[in-house]
Symmetry: C2
Subunit: 192 residues, 2 copies
DNA sequence: TAAAAATGTTAAACTAAGTTAACAAAATTT
DNA sequence: AAATTTTGTTAACTTAGTTTAACATTTTTA
C-alpha cells in the first residue's frame, strides 16, 4: 500500500504522531482502478472520500440530453468524491470516472466519522481542506460570471498547464462550459 | 445583544453546554449596520465571519469595467464573509454590502481559532457549515454550466422565493449571470 | 406633492457561443 | 501496416444573450 503521498500531504496541514498515523493507515483502503472505470455513478450513493496517489479522474454531471458537464479533474494529491452524496449518503449528482489507470486511498463514510472522534486533528485537516475547496469553488463561479470563454481558457491553461496536457481538449471545453468547436476556434485565434 | 438566533442555529448542528455557550457569547460581537454600508470592500482584509440576525447583504465582485457580479445574498440565519480573505488574511476578492439595515453577530479571525481550540464542537460545527456551503457552490457551478438562463431563473425563483421579493430584479439578473434587460424578457415570456 | 432617483420594460442591432456537418489527424486495436 | 476509434479543425448557419437607447414605473427625497 502506497500511503506515503497521503501522509506527506497531511503533514502540510497538521502534524500527526506515529500512533495517529498508524490508526489512520489501518483504517483506510488502498485500491487501483483502470482507465474508463467509474468510482461513482450519478444516482449511486458515494461511499468513499478518495485521495489520488497516481492517475487522474473527471467528475461530471450528465444532463437530460446526455451532455456531459465536467465539474473538476483530480490528479495526484487531490481529493475526489461526490461531497453531497458522501456527506448525506444521498444519491450522487455526479459521475466520477478514471481518465487513466489510477491508485487511490479511500476513506469510507463511517470511518471518517470515527477518525474525527479519535483524532481531532483530522477533523481540523478536513475542515481546512474543505475551506480551500470552497474558496476555489467560489472563485470559479465568479470567473464563470465575469470572464469570456477565451479568458477562462487562458486562465485554465496558466493555472493547470500539466492537467491540460494529459486531458483531451474536448474535456477542457466541457470544464470551461463551452463546446469543443468553440475552444478549437479560441485556440486558433490565440495562435495568430 | 440578540444572540438567540445564533444559538438556535448552532443547536441544529451540535449541542453546546451552558458553559460553552457562555464562552462563545462572551467572545463574539453584536453590531448593526445601515443599508448601503459595506462589511468588506474588495482589496481589504476581511476580519470577521458574520452571522445575519436580521437584514440582508449582497456579496459581489466588481470587474475592471466596473460591472458588478453578485456571488450571493445573505439573509437571516446565513453566514457571510469573504472566506478566502478571512481564512488567509489576504486582500478580499469581493465586496459585501448591506441591502437593508442589518444586525450581525461577528466572529473575529483570531477568536474563531481560539474557539476551535477551546470548544472542539465549534470546529465540528464550522466543518459542517463549510461542507454544506461547498456542496451548494458545486451545485451552482453545474447549474451555470448546464442550464439556460431561463431555467436558472425558474430555479432561483422556486428555491429562494422570499429573497426574490426583497431584492431588486437587476440584482437577481446579476446573480444569474445575465443582464437586467434579458431577465426582463425572460419574465415577460414566462407570463404568456 | 413635486421632483429626483432608482428600478423595470421594450425593441432594434449586434456578438459570443452553439449547431451541424464534413473532413483531418492521432491514437489504439486488429 | 491497415482498419477503427478517438480526438481535433474548419466553415456556414443559428441562437441565446448583450448593447444601446428611449421610455415607463416605482420609490425616495425635498
Amino acid at each position: 500500500m502506497k500511503i506515503e503521498p497521503l501522509l506527506k500531504y497531511i503533514d502540510k496541514y497538521v502534524s500527526l504522531t506515529q500512533e495517529e498515523m498508524d490508526v489512520l493507515v489501518s483504517k483506510v483502503i488502498y485500491r487501483k482502478y483502470l482507465k474508463g472505470q467509474y468510482l461513482v455513478q450519478q444516482g449511486d450513493v458515494c461511499k468513499y472520500s478518495c485521495f489520488v496517489i497516481s492517475g487522474c479522474t473527471k467528475t461530471f454531471y450528465m444532463d437530460d440530453e446526455g451532455q456531459e458537464h465536467i465539474m473538476m479533474f483530480s490528479v495526484e494529491d487531490w481529493w475526489t468524491s461526490d461531497m453531497s452524496s458522501f456527506i448525506n449518503q444521498t444519491p450522487a449528482d455526479f459521475n466520477i470516472q478514471f481518465l487513466e489507470n489510477t491508485e487511490l486511498i479511500m476513506i469510507p463514510r463511517d470511518i471518517i466519522e470515527e477518525l474525527y472522534e479519535r483524532i481531532p486533528k483530522l477533523e481540523r485537516l478536513f475542515r481546512k481542506i474543505i475551506e480551500k475547496a470552497f474558496i476555489a469553488s467560489q472563485k470559479r463561479i465568479v470567473r464563470n460570471l465575469s470572464m469570456t470563454a477565451k479568458d477562462r481558457y487562458i486562465y485554465f491553461r496558466n493555472q493547470y498547464p500539466l492537467i491540460e496536457q494529459r486531458i483531451p481538449q474536448y474535456m477542457v471545453a466541457s470544464y470551461l462550459g463551452i463546446t469543443k468547436e468553440f475552444l478549437s476556434k479560441i485556440k486558433s485565434q490565440l495562435l495568430t
